[in-house]
Point group: C2
Chain length 170, copies 2
Amino acid sequence: MPSKPLPPITMDAVYAAPGYLFRRMQQIAVSIFMEECKAFDLTPVQYAALIAIHTHPGIDATRLSAVIAFDRSTLGSVIERLEAKDYIERKPAPEDKRIKLLYLTKPGAAILREIIPAVERAQARMLEPLKPADRKALMTLLVQLVDLNNEASRVPLRAEDALEHLGKSG
Amino acid sequence: MPSKPLPPITMDAVYAAPGYLFRRMQQIAVSIFMEECKAFDLTPVQYAALIAIHTHPGIDATRLSAVIAFDRSTLGSVIERLEAKDYIERKPAPEDKRIKLLYLTKPGAAILREIIPAVERAQARMLEPLKPADRKALMTLLVQLVDLNNEASRVPLRAEDALEHLGKSG
DNA sequence: CAAAGATTGTCAGTATGCTGTCAATCTAGA
DNA sequence: TCTAGATTGACAGCATACTGACAATCTTTG
């Protein structure tokens, strides 16, 4: 057998491939987010970063990247843009000259309060076409899959554990 | 009531949001794809484009973007790179001077044959952590959701219908 | 304490993705 | 036919993402 006959190459195989579906769904999710939030000058990534900084005031960029599973390189420019919009500020850490601490500003906290309803509408719209039971089933499976595949991505999620090495006053 | 008390802002709400999970899963999917296919100089997007051009020889860029649901602007550079690698070639359409027809080259067809097993391994790996029944359930729900949300994205999938206006000799 | 090693923020380079625009070209209607 | 409108490929500009590298800085070790 010099060459095994390959399966026929069809677009249907592409349309049914997990990778294609994940990409497509991501495009759709971003599109819905931007539509619901067009009154606010925030992208999904910037929103997640703001939430994380709000939840962990004084976090540094490297730990932030672990908490939201974003690439450290990418995060640099995201932070820059958030700072340019005056939603966050960077302060040098007194005990480590390499580190810059991130804090939400008043306008940052304000925009967060205002945008949350729009974000929730967006999240709901993404799943709206499914029956409620199916929405729940899909989310359950996705949470599992993302968790079990955590190490497969370049920047695994390190959630709260990532903060254990931070100097906490508690 | 001057201001309604907002729900507490937690990272768990972010981690459970559909949009966040889709983004995360997309990152993971790309990472796995690139790892399995590192022997071949092809990205997931370039792979999908190659398959579509193989399936629809002589397609033009605009219709290609509809068939794989990629942005027309983005596709331009993707095509450029595929052409630079000598995997496809562009020929001017005789009856319409605006259009450039896309064809797979011999090296393009060859790389497609070679990469397919790696791509299938990648697709399988993405779902591997789930039980077989759960994989099937997830894919079924995702196919539904992507289809029902088709119009929500900037570039809805137009699959084969997009080709109806193409001059077909058959 | 000095050298080796690790960490942090940053940058260059590449590759999607999106919005908006434009000239060239084709099409449809007056 | 002549022109208003649509289509096509291309481009500029912005925003993720990833790889790999780097200087400054901190930590660990001998």
